[in-house]
């Protein structure tokens, strides 16, 4: 609070965004209060200087057409990259699941055999190949994998593979 007025009111007065009634109160007070008048003068000068200098800043950083074009190209490149990453995300999740299954099977039958088992299961499932395994045909793939895993890792190992493969 500065004399009769709050900081918010002072700010509104300095920025000429005040209602008529409060402005009249301000002006009536400023006529009779030297310290407030000096304060007002100092603050009004600062506000005006900031306005002028702020406007100057807007022209200092003006951009040329080629800078704008480069910026726009940069933005669209980033958008494409983000959308590509979004598209690839489901594939990454599937790959992580496949890696997890291979990791479960590898101690029981060896890592090469585990990879071959996954590939064989994919071929006889709806996916038709390991690269085409998706979330949609995952259950079919897993059902094909279970009997193969039973041969290679035993019934207990196959159950473990089945449980590990659940989403």
């Amino acid at each position: 609070m500065t004399h009769l007025f709050s900081e918010e009111e002072w700010n509104d007065y300095l920025e000429e965004q005040i209602d008529d009634e409060t402005r009249d109160r301000f002006e009536a007070h400023l006529i009779g209060c030297l310290s407030c008048w000096k304060f007002y003068e100092r603050m009004a000068n600062a506000t005006q200087a900031l306005r002028v200098s702020g406007a100057g800043m807007r022209s200092v950083f003006a951009l040329q057409d080629r800078q704008l074009s480069a910026g726009l190209r940069g933005v669209f490149a980033k958008i494409d990259e983000a959308e590509g990453a979004k598209r690839d995300q489901p594939r990454r999740v599937i790959q992580q699941r496949l890696d997890a299954l291979a990791a479960v099977m590898a101690p029981m039958c060896g890592s090469q055999t585990a990879t071959k088992a996954l590939r064989a299961a994919a071929q006889v499932s709806h996916a038709r190949s390991l690269e085409r395994v998706t979330e949609d045909n995952w259950t079919s793939f897993l059902m094909s994998l279970k009997p193969i895993a039973a041969v290679m890792c035993g019934e207990t190992g196959a159950r473990l593979v089945w449980e590990s493969g659940q989403f």
Partner: protein
């Protein structure tokens, strides 16, 4: 077409061509904000582009469309915070590629002009939060309502902070400005 219509058009259609028009109106402002907050030119451009990507992807989520500018600078402010945090955490020093001569000259000129301005000197005496509000008010000309959105504070606090930042700057401006430039018109 003025900036308000450009913004409204993009928010309405979300079309790429309307985004290009919006980009032309908005990107220089965001880039300028980062430069005035002390970010180097290359990084300021990267950050401004990141902000524009967010505008492209998420502008449809804006509830109060008339406060687009407030939302825009809120995003910019968040990106700046993320940038500083990342920079603090970064342990290794990345070796920078040398700039080509033409670009280096152009960037130096821009920074030298800005660096020698009164405005940049004045705001250098302020705390980061004060600097934000002064830049957004006097360079970007955000309204109180837009400032409230950008800084996520109530309008009363916007006015209070503006007043106190100006109060802090008043003696600095008085001391640094030549007497002839100080008179109120």
């Amino acid at each position: 077409m003025d900036d308000r219509h450009t913004i409204e058009n993009f928010l309405l259609t979300g079309a790429d061509e309307d985004f290009c028009a919006l980009f032309e109106a908005v990107y220089p402002r965001v880039r300028r904000y980062f430069l005035l907050r002390g970010i180097e030119v290359g990084e300021a451009e990267e950050l401004a582009q990141d902000v524009m990507v967010i505008v492209y992807q998420r502008a449809g989520e804006i509830r109060e469309k008339e406060f687009f500018n407030g939302w825009l600078f809120k995003v910019a402010k968040n990106e700046l915070t993320r940038f500083w945090r990342h920079r603090l955490l970064r342990a290794r020093i990345v070796e920078m590629e040398p700039l080509d001569d033409e670009l280096a000259e152009q960037l130096m000129t821009e920074m030298e002009v800005a660096g020698s301005s009164d405005f940049v000197e004045w705001v250098s005496y302020l705390e980061p939060a004060e600097r934000d509000i002064i830049i957004l008010r006097f360079v970007e000309e955000l309204s109180y309502e837009e400032l409230a959105v950008a800084l996520a504070i109530p309008i009363g606090t916007v006015k209070w902070r503006l007043f106190n930042a100006k109060k802090k700057l008043a003696p600095i401006i008085k001391a640094l400005l030549p007497a002839t430039a100080r008179r109120i018109n």
